[in-house]
Amino acid sequence: MAATNMTPKGALIDLTKCIGCRGCQISCKSWNQRSTKKTVMTGNFTSPGDMNSETYTLVKFVETEKDADVSWDFIKVQCMHCKDPACASACPVGAFTKTAAGPVTYEPEKCIGCRYCMMACPFQVPKYEWDKLYPIVQKCTFCAERIADGMEPACVKTCPPNAIIFGDHDKIVAEAERRIKEHPGKYVNHIYGRQEAGGTAWMYLSSVPFEAMGFKTNIPAKALPDLTWASLSKIPYAVGGLAVVLSAIAFIRNRGNGDGGPSASDKEKEG
């Protein structure tokens, strides 16, 4: 970790370049020592159907219609590694950490398995070991240990057509903007992940509108933890205010009550 550059890292997936080879999926399993799960035919090339506790990343095969023709697109999905992750703010034990280098890491030995992270994540990334008696959460690590050693994540390293580029976050954003600018008409003018959920480390470029490919486009452009913090940050005031108000009301309403022992008459009744 000696001379590691700790500027926030980012990654860009150019969906126009993806050939759907699933090399990323395999290298991820290999690096992270993931097993497999039983799958069934779904009439779709996507396998398994969605990310799960053994599959941190996968390529989704999406068919859309474009100019009265079928457009077959391949979408690599994985944890987006938000700048201000909803999972990290939701976790009651702080098992998720947003590291300076970009990855959102997870400490399984803290996790109590409450699944609030799964509810909170706008991209539905954290997955649960439903087939275990005492399950924990699993999700993409952005190969945090590789990044710390100055390497790129396993999936980026594998990608044969260089559909994924990895580097400092601001440089990646600049590169994405350059591609959109230099190829007018090729891309949809939107970098998915630039604004979503307050910005994410992983971003997408596409030639097909993101909504048509099944991306969630209703995610607000602000950091989601702020939404709950708006409520939580008022707690100290609520406690103080309520304590004062309730004591005042209790004092006023109970004046001349004698001993003030509220259950004195209960006792008589009980007896």
Binding site: C91, Y134, L224, S231, S263
Partner: protein
């Protein structure tokens, strides 16, 4: 009162219903700990929170709100006439919260780590706040109820001390209730993209709090009526009238807030667009809020027992619907087609036809599959033993399966229960572990240290593990 209580038979209709419910609950818990969370609840990655969170936690906490509303009325606002129902309300709230805690322990993936939030603070998490408040409030409720219990034991000195602290306790209880009742709504603030906009609102904490007051009052009325029937006591008609009035006023406030919020967000048309969500919404508001409000506004209804009972049931049903609609039914409905929009129906057995996602699972937990662990499977799965044993994959005789958890230090809960198997079969268990007191001490040690087992406990545990492992092998051979 005492005499009346004795008259209630264990085999009256009410008790039998309750016993059946208890049996069903125990069955569900045993099922969860023997077949795994996924297989026993039908939850999946698309629907991570289901019945247990929606009913046990969201509804359970709301339905126990009678505790703080009545104590506030009696002690803070000095409404003396409600004093007779204060203790029952506190008791039911206390039992309700105990059930919430129990339900949570069954529902979370790592029951042995239930104490983690209390130690590993994470103040930005709503869940952390709720866990803290529920733990503290359960303690407060226990202390509020303790005088009634201690009086019976004749410990009057303690009673005096507790009574001295009545007001601080009551105020603490009200504040804690305010915090976590509203925070249950704040749970969902972080999911703007997942909730239907009929339910998602920045004011969800406030809605949850106000509806909790309404349902707390309704629940107290319901309990008072049913309790008086069961114990053949005279009905507290005068109190019920007041409670009904309070419920109606709270419901009115709630309705005004809801409608104002909907129209402010421009979501009012959604409620009338005839979609499934709008029908659920209309049912929830119409049956659970508007009709009981109108009913309870009529003096004649408030004075009639069935009127109050019926309206209370409507309010309770409305709040249950609201919590379910917020959590189970509507969540994920707006998710785009490709990225997991799940339907959820609790089911014990998963049909194969539902096995369309990689996230689905077999009924048998994978954990207990593997080579050479058939014996353990018999002991632990068939015999429905309740505590974790997974450390044995690494430490014991029964090595097998992959080490998914990357545990550095194995755990030894399983040792104790492996022994208990032999103790109840009349085998030859190591003495120090079948002693129930000692084994509970060991369990305590392990809970407190979670991963690090003190050396003193490790050595005998290891020895006994070896002994029991051997006897387990031999006994299985004998059976053949």
């Amino acid at each position: 009162m005492q005499d009346n209580r004795n008259k209630v038979s264990l085999f009256s209709i009410g008790s039998v219903i309750l016993l059946i419910l208890i049996a069903a609950g125990i069955y569900a818990a045993v099922n969860r700990f023997s077949t795994g969370l996924g297989a026993s609840t039908n939850l999946s990655d698309e629907v991570p929170w289901g019945l247990w969170v929606a009913f046990d936690v969201l509804c359970g906490v709301a339905l126990a709100a009678g505790g703080f509303t009545i104590t506030a009325a009696v002690y803070i606002f000095n409404m003396k006439k409600y004093k007779p129902i204060a203790r029952p309300a506190i008791l039911t709230a206390f039992i309700g919260y105990l059930m919430v805690v129990l339900g949570l322990i069954v529902d979370i993936g790592q029951p042995m780590r239930f104490w983690h939030p209390l130690v590993m603070w994470q103040p930005r998490s709503v869940m952390f706040e709720v866990v803290m408040c529920i733990s503290l409030y359960t303690t407060v409720l226990a202390l509020e109820f303790a005088p009634a219990f201690l009086e019976k034991l004749g410990l009057n000195a303690l009673v005096k001390i507790l009574k001295f602290f009545t007001f601080p306790l009551v105020i603490a209880g009200i504040i804690l209730s305010f915090l976590h009742q509203s925070s249950l709504g704040a749970f969902f603030l972080i999911m703007p993209a997942k909730l239907n906009s009929l339910w998602y609102s920045p004011y969800m904490p406030q809605f949850f709090y106000v509806s909790a007051i309404a349902v707390g009052l309704a629940m107290v009325s319901f309990e008072a009526i049913v309790g008086a029937w069961a114990f053949k006591r005279p009905q507290e008609t005068e109190l019920l009238k007041g409670l009904g009035k309070g419920t109606a006023i709270t419901l009115f406030v709630y309705l005004v807030l809801k409608v104002a919020d909907l129209s402010m967000r421009g979501a009012l048309p959604l409620a009338f667009d005839g979609s499934m969500a709008s029908r659920f919404y209309m049912a929830e508001i119409g049956l659970g809020v508007i009709s009981p409000m109108i009913l309870l506004a009529i003096t004649g209804v408030r004075e009639s027992l069935f009127g109050v009972l019926g309206s209370s049931v409507l309010v309770i049903g409305g709040v249950i619907m609201n919590r379910f609609n917020t959590n189970v039914n509507r969540v994920n409905k707006k998710a785009a087609a490709d990225l997991s929009c799940g339907r959820f129906f609790p089911s014990y057995y998963k049909g194969d036809e539902e096995d369309n996602e990689g996230t689905r699972h077999d009924q048998q937990p994978k954990q207990v599959d593997g080579k050479g662990i058939g014996l353990i499977k018999r002991l632990y799965v068939r015999r429905l033993v309740l505590l974790p044993w997974r450390g044995s994959r690494r430490s014991g005789f029964f090595r097998g399966g992959r080490d998914v958890f990357r545990q550095r230090r194995p755990r030894r809960f399983q040792i104790i229960f492996r022994c208990s198997h032999f103790s109840d079969r009349g085998g030859l268990p190591p003495g120090f572990i079948i002693n129930p007191e000692r084994s509970s001490v060991i369990i305590m040690v392990m809970i407190l240290s979670d991963v690090q087992v003190p050396d003193a406990a490790v050595l005998p545990a290891r020895m006994s593990s070896a002994a029991v492992g051997l006897s387990g092998m031999s006994s299985s051979r004998e059976r053949k």
